[in-house]
Symmetry: C2
Subunit: 418 residues, 2 copies
């Protein structure tokens, strides 16, 4: 039989993996115990494990509500003091659950691993992490548990990273520790070609590129916080999305290798977004500066503009259309109506029963005809396209919202994603 | 009109006061707002204020219950990680409540003020505090809020001070800051000559000496954690107990000046304790070592012994009696019954329907006749005294529990405490 020391050394040669579990996965004592079992299993396979956890589901909302009873607009520094307790409770409980099943573990808050951030309370940015203590614990055979979502600011105050910040914490820790992989456990088992609730044939992708993931996330496939994906891209962290509810399965790996592109399909996923409203500003003078006059006023009100189209003008005037989030629809109409005279528009109207459907794929760069196929497919179903916007790896169309599911299904089929 | 700077400097000459509010006083958002108002008032009087708060009532129990769902005996280090969040929530909320009414404030956890402790998790002892940040904030006109009950261990881990530790935190902070006074706000408005629920004529004392307070606390007048009073004595912190529910009133000041004694009454308070059970070991050989034989076995079982009496022997044997907490009565009888032969006792019996009533007073040292007065007063009511024990500043008697209220009332009257 090998002496313990050798076994230990052998384990050291295995992978270092960061696990991240969100609020639903740790939402009850029973679920925390399940997470402990999952971590114990990975540990038993010989891997070094660092676990990042969120607050138990509902806890952050409870704390936010308490804060709002104190102050209409809670002081950001003090709000972070209160909110950060949610993750602190979870790390302690998970460490106990692991010890209870015989796995040595140690918990750390953000400040204890010196996860340093700037001073932008409630939405701080990570600047550095000290991996010394964690490395010592891992070398000691311990599972390291770190509170997500939180850090310590350059002024020594507790800071938080904003909603979904635990994903970013996990990726940042993986980068600092040069982990072999960062595994994000969620309530879905990976990234799909489209929403399986809309298209039952939707297929889980084994891999998705970083760029596609960014587009899919921003288009509504909200599996991961987009900031964490950007972070992973910047630091080349191998990122995987897995189910925390099912056992087995490899989830979806997010890759950063451009070389893969050659073999990729033109379109890898269909995303959709119902949070859209269209504004039309008709008959404006076709001269420089008119776009700024219209969009500047909207931007000043902190309203985000998504798709923008300006038709080629005729007889000295042109039509200008753009989309905004549905919640900002009425305010946008009001802002522009007040300025109708100074803009010199003939009329201002809009529609808040529209939606955006997008085909995403890195392969699009080297393929022609993707847009044409989309237009043909939708035309065959009698779906009218109101607006079109394209980027290097996506084509988006704005259509009547009543066709959203139909459009998604037929496009999913047209690009053989099932 | 004076320039601001002068006004500021004038305020600097006022007192530095530490306030402490327990879990009941901060038990709801409404109550936290009331604490904020009380702190704001003291600040408006020109004082520098440091506030120490406990967890909202019920919160610590909730967290303990969660921990016990993870592990039968929760890991002490991780339990402290979880429990310390209770006070952390309160400090943030109180800072918000103060800012909401225009009082600048800043909160600190135990580690943020470097409240260093040993590594005895869940019952750590304070070793040092760094007052630098707090002094800078006070000089800046801010109210400083510090989480009670918690610190950071010499290993950089979060530690807690045990139940009632927030009182100790407050006294330690007052000592570190050389505060003019440490004010403990509770649900009573001071220390009474006896329990007002038993004797309606009980009177709030304006002052009580440290020694009397120690005796009164240990005898059941549980206004303050005894450890915090000892701490205050060691560092000569001026300690005051006040009501957090009523406005006005000076509470009770705990003094450490021995010079006051000359004018003090012989007896300043009557305490009582129902958590007593008497054990009699009869007819044991009257020889050296027998007390150790009996009490050693009891001490080995971690049972605390309070009053002890050994009668003068006759015919080579003696009777030995002592009291233990009621919850340990049966176990104590069992332990001794098992050893009856080796001890050489004729019989072992006991009584768990007894109580202890004590007269406490620093003036007792220079007065005679206190014990005599107690015995006469109780005799006049037909109350039989089962055991007597005396110290420099107290006389305790063990009596049938049914006479507890009567004995307390008549002694309170006999010593003119009303």
């Amino acid at each position: 039989m090998l002496p313990d020391q050798s076994l230990h050394k052998k384990a050291r040669n295995m992978a270092l993996i960061v696990h991240k579990y969100g609020g639903t996965s740790v939402g009850s004592p029973e679920r925390i115990k399940n997470v402990a079992k999952r971590v114990a299993k990975a540990r038993a396979e010989g891997h070094d494990i660092v676990v990042v956890v969120s607050a138990m589901s509902g806890e952050t909302n409870r704390l936010v509500a308490l804060a709002h009873e104190m102050q209409e607009h809670p002081d950001p520094r003090e709000l972070d003091v209160v909110l950060s307790t949610g993750e602190q409770v979870t790390i302690g409980l998970l460490a106990m659950a692991l010890k209870d099943i015989g796995v040595d573990a140690k918990s750390y808050t953000g400040w204890q691993v010196a996860l340093k951030t700037d001073t932008a309370h409630t939405k701080a940015r990570i600047e550095s992490i000290d991996d010394e203590k964690m490395r010592a614990d891992l070398a000691d055979g311990k599972v390291v548990i770190v509170a997500g979502f939180q850090g310590i600011s350059s002024e020594g105050d507790i800071s938080t990273l904003g909603r979904g910040g635990s994903d970013t914490s996990a990726v940042a820790l993986a980068a600092a520790l040069k982990a072999d992989e960062c595994q994000i456990y969620t309530d879905v088992d990976g990234v799909y070609t489209t929403d399986p609730r809309v298209v039952p044939e939707a297929r889980r992708m084994d891999t998705v590129t970083f760029e596609e993931m960014i587009e899919l996330a921003s288009l509504g496939s909200k599996v991961l916080q987009i900031r964490s994906v950007e972070f992973a891209g910047k630091y080349k962290v191998r990122l995987r999305v897995l189910s925390s509810l099912q056992d087995g399965g490899n989830g979806t790996l997010i890759t950063f290798e451009e070389d893969d592109n050659m073999e990729r399909a033109a379109v890898t996923g269909i995303a959709f977004d119902k949070n859209q409203a269209r504004i039309n500003v008709r008959g404006v003078p076709d001269k420089p500066g008119v776009a700024y006059q219209i969009l500047g006023a909207v931007a000043d009100a902190n309203i985000e503009v998504d798709m923008i189209i300006q038709n080629v003008g005729s007889e000295g005037t042109t039509d200008f259309s753009f989309t905004v989030p549905r919640g900002d629809y009425k305010q946008t109409l009001e802002i522009l109506s007040e300025r109708q005279d100074s803009i010199g528009a003939a009329s201002i109207d809009g529609d808040d029963t529209v939606c955006k459907v997008s085909a995403v794929g890195l392969g699009m760069r080297s393929h022609v005809g993707v847009a044409a196929k989309i237009f043909r497919t939708l035309a065959e179903e009698g779906i009218n396209i109101q607006m079109i916007s394209t980027s290097e790896i996506k084509v988006s169309v704005l259509i009547d919202e009543k066709y959203m599911e139909l459009a998604t299904r037929v496009l999913h089929k047209a690009f053989d994603l099932g």
